[in-house]
C-alpha cells in the first residue's frame, strides 16, 4: 500500500460519500454544495493522473463557473416546492437496477486483460501545455473541434439568453 494508493483511496471515499449525499439530501442548496465537494474530489483524481491542465480546468470551469451558475438557479427558483425525496416510491426499484448495472460493468471490467496494467512515468517534456496548444491549432491536429466548440459556445450563449431573458409581456 504505497502512499499514492492510500491518498487515492481516501480521496475516492470522500468523493463517493459526497456523491451519495448529493443524491439523498433534501434541500437543493445542500445537494449543490455536496456536488462542489464531489467536483473537488474528481479534480484530485485528475491531479493523481498527472493531467495538470485538466485538473486546473476542472476547478475553474466546474467549480468556478458551473457550480456558481447552479447555485444562482437554485436561488432563483427558491420559492418552488422543495421536492420531498422520500416521497416517491420509485427509488427502491431504481436502486436495484443501479446496483445491477454497477455489478455488470465491474464484471465486464475484470474480464478485460489490460486492466491491471500499471502506469509508466511521464517525462516533463510530455507534460508541457504548449503541446496541447500546438495540437489545438495545427490543421493536422484538432483545429476542427477547436472551432466547432466556439460555435457550440456561441449557440449556447444566444439560446440561453433568448430563453432566459424575461420578455416584456410576462412582468405580471
Amino acid at each position: 500500500m504505497t502512499l499514492m494508493q492510500v491518498i487515492f483511496l481516501a480521496n475516492a471515499l470522500v468523493t463517493i460519500f459526497a456523491a451519495l449525499m448529493m443524491v439523498t439530501s433534501r434541500k437543493l442548496i445542500h445537494a449543490a454544495l455536496w456536488l462542489v465537494l464531489c467536483l473537488f474530489g474528481v479534480a484530485a483524481v485528475f491531479g493523481m493522473l498527472e493531467a495538470s491542465f485538466i485538473t486546473i480546468v476542472q476547478i475553474i470551469v466546474y467549480i468556478g463557473a458551473i457550480a456558481i451558475l447552479i447555485l444562482f438557479a437554485v436561488m432563483l427558483t427558491q420559492n418552488a416546492v422543495d421536492d420531498s425525496y422520500k416521497g416517491n416510491r420509485r427509488w427502491l426499484m431504481t436502486g436495484l437496477v443501479a446496483l445491477l448495472a454497477l455489478g455488470g460493468t465491474l464484471l465486464a471490467l475484470f474480464t478485460w486483460p489490460k486492466v491491471a496494467s500499471l502506469s509508466t512515468a511521464l517525462t516533463t517534456a510530455q507534460l508541457d501545455i504548449g503541446l496541447i496548444g500546438q495540437a489545438l491549432v495545427d490543421p493536422q491536429g484538432y483545429v476542427i473541434p477547436f472551432e466547432v466548440s466556439s460555435l457550440l459556445l456561441i449557440a449556447a450563449l444566444i439560446g440561453a439568453i433568448y430563453v432566459g431573458m424575461e420578455r416584456k409581456g410576462e412582468e405580471k
Binding site: 491531479g47 498527472e50 495538470s52 491542465f53 485538473t55 480546468v57 475553474i60 470551469v61 468556478g64 463557473a65 458551473i66 456558481i68 451558475l69 444562482f72 438557479a73 436561488m75 432563483l76 427558491q78 420559492n79 511521464l122 516533463t124 507534460l127 508541457d128 501545455i129 504548449g130 503541446l131 496541447i132 496548444g133 500546438q134 489545438l136 491549432v137 495545427d138 490543421p139 483545429v143 477547436f146 472551432e147 466548440s149 466556439s150 460555435l151 459556445l153 456561441i154 449556447a156 450563449l157 444566444i158 440561453a160 439568453i161 433568448y162 432566459g164 431573458m165 424575461e166
Partner: protein, 118 residues
C-alpha cells in the same frame, strides 16, 4: 511533476487550517452569553419583515451564464497562448477567428440588453 502538486496540497491544507485554528482559539477566549434577542437575525435593528426567501431577478442568471461561456472560452485559449511563440501566422488566424466568434456572442448579448442591470 507530482511533488510540485504534493507541495500545493500541503500548502493549501495549512492555508485552510491556519484561519480555522485562529477562529477556534478565539472561540475559546471569547465569552459565550447567547440571548434570544441577540441571536435573532439582524435587519437594521427592526423586526424581520416577511420570509427570508426573496425573489431574485433573472439578471443574476444572465451574468452567470455569460461568465460561464467566456470562462470556458478563455480556458480553451490558454494552451494556444502558451504555444504562441511556436505557432505560425495561420494558427494565430484560427485563434483570432475563435475570439471573434465569441465577440459576436457578446455583441448579441449587448444588443438584446442582457448586459444591463435594470
Amino acid at each position: 511533476m507530482l511533488h510540485e502538486w504534493f507541495y500545493l496540497v500541503i500548502f493549501l491544507s495549512i492555508a485552510f487550517l491556519l484561519p480555522a485554528a485562529a477562529i477556534l482559539i478565539a472561540g475559546l477566549l471569547s465569552p459565550r452569553k447567547t440571548g434570544k434577542i441577540k441571536t435573532s437575525t439582524y435587519e437594521c435593528g427592526i423586526e424581520t419583515v416577511g420570509s427570508s426567501k426573496i425573489q431574485f431577478k433573472a439578471q443574476y442568471y444572465l451574468f452567470g451564464l455569460i461568465f460561464l461561456i467566456f470562462d470556458v472560452e478563455t480556458v480553451l485559449l490558454f494552451p494556444f497562448a502558451v504555444a504562441y511563440q511556436k505557432i505560425l501566422l495561420f494558427g494565430v488566424i484560427e485563434a483570432v477567428l475563435f475570439v471573434l466568434i465569441l465577440a459576436a456572442g457578446l455583441a448579441y448579448a449587448w444588443r438584446k440588453g442582457a448586459l444591463d442591470w435594470h
